[in-house]
């Protein structure tokens, strides 16, 4: 076995793990605004600043909109920038998310996933980040505090890769992960610093014809964020799509490089298959639900049910080939959504997974389970019932109800 770096076991809630990863990642500028359940990230980081433990400019902005505008501008100036938010805060950033990805600013952001108003609800679901699906951000979802920590460190490497240059959002489930204490294996400062390195800037051609690092530099004037009309806008957008495609490979590489240092890898970096090889029935989910799901699958396997699980670590870019191949032999699939697309015939993950399976050699039955909205608890018994439904579909040979609501009073 390959030797991995020495690590320190720390008891950290997800938010604290994120703050700790940021502290270690040589971040130049943090511009953030507090919102439940992300608050601890900002509070913890403020402590590091107040105690002189980080070399970072902390800009305690007056809104999330300014948090993203300042992060983007800092990134355009050449700095490594981080911010964090949740729910309404992410919604307020909406406009700037598109500008940040369009400006190709590799900002990294933690999102402590939380429901959107109304009614007001501070608890966990994925409504906030799913509403930002098309903002041009890479989206990854952590299963536990350990992965939140690891993903933040990886995110800088992914975002700043010259073939990618896209902002990255790391989702951690509000309260379930953000506020729950776990044992986290933390790398030593020097190892994280070596892994993320100093931000490298790709060279670009300026309007003066100079080949120069991509940043606001008085020695090499560059116009960033111009107006591009019918004749150029489309090409800019196409390039973002290309960057997303490149990200698929980069994420896999970073996942495997990180595994060499830490001993921890998350599937191929894109998806994580659990007991899928011979599975007949399988569920697909994001985030912390996968932890509970794995114990449910274990129990089902004990009972002789060929059950499996596919966790999507990445939602953007969507690992189309990886999902299709992971589900190649599965006969019935339940896609789990922790958000809703009102009037849209199912949740966003369901839409995308069912869509990509249209081109599969063998199409499995696919149903949607919407669950956990506003932090509604989902018990192992309820999760088990999903597999029972899938077994029923296989027996009946047809899908009667394509969209289910789990744990809902009807």
């Amino acid at each position: 076995m390959q030797s991995v770096a020495k690590q320190e076991t720390m008891a950290l809630a997800g938010d604290q793990a994120v703050a700790y990863a940021v502290k270690q990642s040589d971040v130049d500028v943090v511009a953030a605004y507090p919102i439940t359940p992300q608050t601890i990230i900002v509070e913890k980081f403020s402590e590091y600043v107040a105690n002189g433990e980080v070399e970072t400019e902390f800009v305690c902005v007056e809104s999330e909109h300014s948090a993203m505008a300042a992060s983007l501008a800092a990134s355009a100036t050449g700095a490594r920038a981080f911010t964090a938010t949740a729910s309404a805060g992410l919604a307020l950033m909406h406009e700037m998310l598109f500008v940040t990805s369009g400006c190709r600013a590799p900002v990294v952001m933690a999102v402590a996933n939380r429901a959107l108003s109304a009614p007001l609800n501070i608890h966990g679901d994925h409504s906030d980040s799913m509403a930002q699906r098309d903002s041009g951000w890479i989206q990854m979802y952590a299963e536990n505090a350990q992965e939140a920590y690891d993903s933040i460190i990886q995110a800088f490497r992914i975002a700043e890769n010259s073939g990618v240059l896209l902002p990255v959002m790391v989702g951690l489930d509000g309260f379930t992960l953000s506020h729950t204490l776990e044992n986290v294996e933390a790398l030593l400062d020097a190892d994280v610093k070596a892994f993320v390195g100093i931000r490298k800037l790709p060279n670009v051609l300026t309007h003066e014809g100079k080949n120069t690092p991509f940043r606001l530099d008085p020695a090499n004037p560059m116009t960033m964020g111009p107006i591009a009309l019918q004749n150029y806008y489309f090409e800019f957008k196409r390039q973002q799509e290309e960057a997303m495609k490149n990200a698929l490979g980069v994420i896999q590489q970073v996942n495997s490089d990180y595994a060499k240092v830490s001993g921890r890898g998350y599937g191929d970096g894109l998806v994580e298959a659990y007991c899928l090889e011979d599975a007949e029935v399988a569920a697909i989910c994001l985030g912390s639900t996968a932890g509970t799901m794995k114990t449910v699958v274990d129990a089902l396997r004990q009972d002789g049910v060929k059950a499996g699980l596919l966790r999507l670590r990445m939602f953007r870019p969507l690992p189309v080939e990886q999902i299709r191949s992971a589900l190649a032999n599965v006969k019935a699939v339940a896609v789990m959504d922790k958000s809703m697309s009102f009037g849209g015939n199912g949740g966003p993950v369901f839409h995308e997974v069912r869509h990509l399976l249209y081109d599969a050699d063998k199409r499995p039955y696919v149903v949607n389970y919407i669950y956990g909205l506003g932090g509604r608890d989902t018990s192992p018994t309820e999760l088990r019932s999903i597999y029972e439904t899938l077994q029923g579909i296989l027996q009946a040979g047809r899908v009667e109800t394509p969209i289910h609501y789990l744990g809902l009073r009807e």
């Binding site: 130049d28 400019e57 800009v59 902005v61 501008a73 700095a79 700037m96 020695a219 964020g225």
Partner: protein, 325 residues
């Protein structure tokens, strides 16, 4: 060289290379374009500019062309000040870490009245409260001109815009211009000034002072828009002069909260008999045409009354004794 030593002669200005370059798409007689070109002449060294969405952003950066001889960033309408915050924070830390040179880099944020009075005021207030070292320049053409002349918080009372048209019941904009520079003074910031491009030396000196001061500086510049004001493109500078002479737009500066009249307005204060009636300024501008109809006589009187009241307030703030003509 400090602003006290800097003379800003015609020769200095002519010899300094343009940083806001020709070839931009601004209209004939555009006040803001003149303002930006002049202001960039007053920079003291390496400078980064960030700009809110608006006329000047649109006319100067049509890809693949640019009018900017300095690094320039545009992101959105309401973000001039928050972008400046991020740029300034990045420069500070990258300097501290030795990742860029140690020379002073100035940060200027340009925004129109929409990007300042209205949608941008939260970010501006926040950035000033946090004390970032940057100069915010409001080029005030008194409406959303880029989108076709809609009223803003900076549009004056009575003005007809496409969202405050002079109708048969409502005679143009009912509300008065928001006292934005006073709002900025109330932030207890180091430097606030108002300027008119007709008095270009005064304006450039204020730009330089705003750059030299430690911390945030705010400069409110009067910037006529012939398209939006329905005025003669050849008369933009004339209106810039009349606005000061009628006390519609007094020029003053506040250094660490101490307000002082600037020379062009000081001359009016010293010789109140020379203070011109507001109608001298309003006449000839299509946006105020309806105010000269007999049925709107009261409106005209009200504008004069409020202009006088606001002038008295400026005199008081600047420690001048009010003199009546």
């Amino acid at each position: 060289m400090t602003s006290q030593e800097w003379k800003f002669t015609i020769k200095d200005i002519a010899e300094k290379p343009d940083l806001f370059l020709s070839g931009h798409r601004a209209c004939a007689g555009c006040g803001p374009a003149t303002v930006l070109r002049l202001i960039m002449k007053a920079t003291r060294g390496p400078t980064i500019v960030t700009e809110a969405t608006g006329c000047m952003e649109v006319v100067s950066s049509i890809y693949p062309y640019t009018s900017w001889g300095v690094p320039w960033l545009h992101t959105a309408f309401e973000t001039a000040a928050s972008n400046a915050s991020g740029i300034e924070a990045a420069l500070k830390i990258m300097k501290r870490k030795g990742r860029i040179g140690q020379e002073q880099v100035d940060v200027i944020a340009f925004a129109g009245d929409g990007g300042t009075y209205d949608i941008g005021i939260q970010a501006l207030s926040g950035a000033v409260e946090r004390g970032h070292d940057f100069l915010f320049v409001l080029y005030d053409n008194e409406a959303y001109m880029n989108t076709g002349i809609q009223r803003s918080g900076g549009t004056p009372h009575g003005a007809a815009t496409t969202t405050s048209p002079a109708g048969s019941v409502i005679p143009g904009k009912l509300e008065f211009k928001k006292p934005i520079a006073n709002i900025m003074v109330a932030h207890d910031m180091p430097y606030v000034a108002t300027a008119s491009p007709y008095y270009w030396k005064d304006m450039l000196t204020k730009v330089r002072k705003g750059l030299e001061v430690e911390g945030p500086a705010f400069l409110h510049v009067f910037a006529p828009c012939p398209r939006g004001w329905r005025s003669d493109p050849a008369k933009s500078m004339e209106y810039s002069k009349l606005a000061v002479e009628t006390c519609v737009f007094p020029v003053w500066e506040s250094v660490d909260g101490q307000c002082k009249l600037s020379t062009p307005s000081k001359l009016v204060a010293l010789a109140p008999q020379k203070k011109k009636p507001v109608s001298d300024y309003l006449q000839g501008q299509g946006r105020f045409r309806h105010m000269f109809k007999p049925q709107n006589k009261k409106l005209l009187e009200e504008v004069q009354r409020v202009t006088d009241e606001r002038w008295e307030r400026v005199l008081k703030n600047c420690g001048e004794t009010a003199k009546t003509a």
